[in-house]
Amino acid sequence: MSMDWGYTVEPSEGGSEIMHALAEADAPRHSDKSAGKWVKDNLFNTWYNTIITLVFGILAAWGGFKALKFIFVTARWEPVAENIELFMLGLYPRAEVPRVVVQLFLMSGAGGLIAGWLKARAAATAEESGVEVVKTPIRDYVGSYSALVLFMMATLIVGADTIGPWLVLLGSILAAVTGFLATKPLANPLTKIILLSPLLLAAGMLTRVQDLNNQAAYTIAIIAIVLLVIVNLSQSLTLMLSAGMLAGVAGFQTLSGTGGLAWIFVLIAILPIGLELIAKLTERLPAAAAWVGAAIVAAALVWRATVEPTGVVTIVLAIILIAAVIPLLRGDGGLAMRAGGVVVLAVLSWAACNAADVTGIDWSDWGGLQLNLVVAGASTVLAFPIGLLLALGRRSSLPVVRYMCTAYIEVIRGVPLISLLLMGAFFIGFFLNSDTPLSSVTRATIAITMFAAAYIAEIVRGGLQAVAKGQTEAGQALGLPAAKITRLLILPQALRAVIPSMVGQFISLFKDTSLLSIIAILEFLGVREIVHAQEDFRGFGIAESLVYVAFGFWALSFTMSRESQRLERKLDVGDR
């Protein structure tokens, strides 16, 4: 029995039926009719269809002509062309642009690695269950990515006045290809050379691009090469995932610096492979080794407690220690081993971050399209655990928990994002006890995260509901405790089912980041304010810059939504 606020619509009610029908209808089909018959069947089969075809055909031709004439003849693209850096990066310090280049390379590499991991995982699963992997025809990729490519080409053609940006694009593509190839098992040395050459090219380019410090470039390149070679030799799925996430984290940190919380991201990135290694180690070591794990946690706790007795890390460590020691006393040392291992990994990542010591660019200085992507990504990542907890809380058997979670979800879903952003802009800082005021971007990110968490909670809840009841009952029959049933049986199935919806949520958040312009943050849309405040472009080319921004948003959202549809067909969520 859940609280009914009257205006909610169950996610599984109708919505999933519609999504499934659409996914099926949009699956690519390729017909082989002759052209003449096709025209007759699809355009002129009845008298009224002939009229409709003629009317709409003329309208479409006229509209298309007008649009093309605007784009290629009448439009004045100077405001866009002269300010392309503003549109991409906002007021980001120009001297620090090489960091963005490194970030692009690393992010592309991460994308390649993750794509390769997804592919390898799909292949492994298919082999296990004895089904064939469905190959995506190349024309589907062309259909998805053409919008993105078009946008990048348009941006470069209009805005790039040197060869630099083209080289950056080329390097990013090469980095992505290298990352992808690294996940492929390769037999002979020749292919390995081919594998590495794009990477070397990319590394070389890193040093060529503008004035990036050569030493830093070589360090990044060498670490990347070593990592990729290990990935390639081991062919371990978890290593691919960890390497991909690590590259992504590194890309993010080249901009935001490695001080503060960076070690947590690094820890999360290396956690998959770390846990696998710990599990392997546990098998080989005697059971008593679990006490060593507990001792490591205890040592870390003592160390943190002397430095910062009431810090978050201290409290978390204390909770972990208690949680690990209780089963250990009963003879179950698994948790203590894992806890000890994770603490070691945490210390390692903390040490690594300290050693790297990159000072960051404060993200109130970030801007342009970069900021939209980062804020959307950061809010999705931050909101996911909150949303997951909210979704589980909404299904909790404790009424207090259930009501609190439901109230939060329903209130947030009932109000517009702009009201939360205004809250962020005017008084979110008042909730915190800090002396330094939060930057406007941070406040906006908090507001968007609060907003996204409620929506993600509903998506996850939909996924949880989609898991058949028999699964829970099967778990109970095996005598598993409720927490284990949720963690081992329900969540993996539920989360797999919600991946496409999560991508959809990211797209919608990405579009919603345009609202930041209302609270005076210079993101992709808001940059137009300063572009048209310039002497040369005051009241000039206003429509053109808006068209460019709209095209940018459109291209990215379109490509992402196409990819998510493909993902949905691939996972075939509806058919389960």
């Binding site: 039926e17 029908a21 005017f426």
Partner: protein
């Protein structure tokens, strides 16, 4: 249980911080500001700056309702047409509908709103409205009754005006509506009992129109037209329905944007109706029209309604973006009021409460509709 305790203490900590901080900043924590004068005028509105914040919020709520009501109707009609267009076998209709959906679905609604503001008004062909420049006036052919006045900033349209006895007229019309509903129920029963054609729409409309015409003639024309005219000062429009560019831009933009989402829902719902249903209809030798009217659409509506209700709620929430075309709906007014020194926490709490109330009202009404459509015990 531990989670509850943690959440409780976190909340207490947050609220403690809030009250301490508000106190130290000298921001009032009571609600007395609601009765204080607003202190600013609203664009294109007779709103008196001396009126209270309460009445200011009321203006905002009415303006939001004005966007939502027209926007929802527009989105539903346009969305249905395009959704069906996407299923058309005519290649050009199909592709144009797809182009429409894929374009508007993937552009932020804020960009679309700004675009409509620019395309229709800033760069549109309309004349400037000022004492020195005359707006375009469209008159009823052959007379000098103004149908509409259009310009870059102000617009006025012909409207119905209540005259003498209009109160009685509306009461009679209400009775007529009740009669029409009774007629509808009676014809449905006749149809169920005897199987003869019910012609419900015809009969009910007949009742309503007859009552309306008779009452109109008997009361001696209780309603009249109100035609928009430019005031003598040349600054505002008097009579008719006066509105401004911001309203037109936001309503059209939201209608167009939401339609792209509704179109996909309609298409998906029609596709989701099991194929066997369609084949069964064919086997019964129903015509194409009949198949849609009696077999596919009733089931498709049932599937689509919950998602369409969600889109309506989204439209209401998106109306908060009218701020960028300077239309004074509730969010824009709240923001201005906060800028004028009213306490932000209370104002934003009220703002959220308003949207929650809007959501509640809309979904209350539509959920009743929805319940009528859903099958019981499915």
């Amino acid at each position: 249980m531990a989670a509850v305790v943690i959440v409780f203490f976190t909340l207490r900590w947050l609220l403690n911080n809030l009250s301490t901080n508000l106190e130290s900043q000298g921001i009032p924590t009571d609600w007395n500001f609601l009765d204080a004068p607003a202190g600013f005028a609203i664009r294109d509105s007779p709103f008196d700056p001396e009126s209270s914040i309460k009445s200011l919020l009321w203006v905002g709520i009415r303006n939001t309702a004005a966007i939502a009501s027209i926007g929802i109707i527009m989105a539903l009609i346009l969305g249905t047409i395009i959704g069906i267009g996407r299923l058309s076998t005519n290649w050009i209709v199909n592709k144009l509908s797809t182009l429409y959906v894929e374009t508007f679905r993937n552009i932020p609604v804020l960009v679309i709103i700004i675009f409509f503001g620019f395309a229709l008004f800033t760069f549109g062909p309309l004349p400037v409205f000022s004492p020195t420049s005359a707006p375009d006036i469209i008159t009823f052919p052959g007379t000098d009754v103004n149908l509409a006045i259009v310009s870059k900033s102000r617009l006025g349209f012909l409207s119905i005006q209540n005259g003498e006895n209009s109160g009685i007229f509306w009461i009679i019309m209400l009775a007529g509506l009740v009669g029409a509903i009774a007629m509808w129920i009676w014809r449905s029963r006749v149809n169920e009992r005897t199987g003869q054609a019910h012609h419900r729409i015809l009969y009910s409309l007949g009742v309503l129109v007859t009552v309306g015409v008779v009452a109109f003639l008997a009361l001696g024309a209780p309603l009249g037209w109100s035609s928009p005219v430019v005031s003598e000062s040349g600054r505002i429009i008097i009579g008719g329905i006066a509105t401004n560019d911001g309203y037109i831009a936001i309503t059209l933009a939201l209608g167009v944007y939401t339609a792209s989402h509704i179109a996909e829902i309609i298409r998906g719902a029609i596709l989701a109706v099991a194929k066997g249903q369609s084949e069964a209809a064919n086997a019964l030798a129903l015509s194409g029209m009949q198949r849609y009217r009696f077999i596919i659409l009733p089931q498709a509506i049932r599937i689509a309604l919950p998602s369409i209700i969600n889109q309506f709620l989204n439209l209401v929430k998106n109306s908060s973006l009218a701020i960028v075309v300077a239309f004074p709906e509730i969010t824009a007014l709240t923001k201005t009021a906060i800028g004028n020194g009213n306490p932000a926490p209370q104002m934003i709490l009220l703002l959220m409460a308003c949207y929650l109330a809007f959501s509640l009202v809309i979904s209350l009404v539509l959920n009743i509709v929805n319940r009528r459509f859903q099958l019981v015990g499915r």
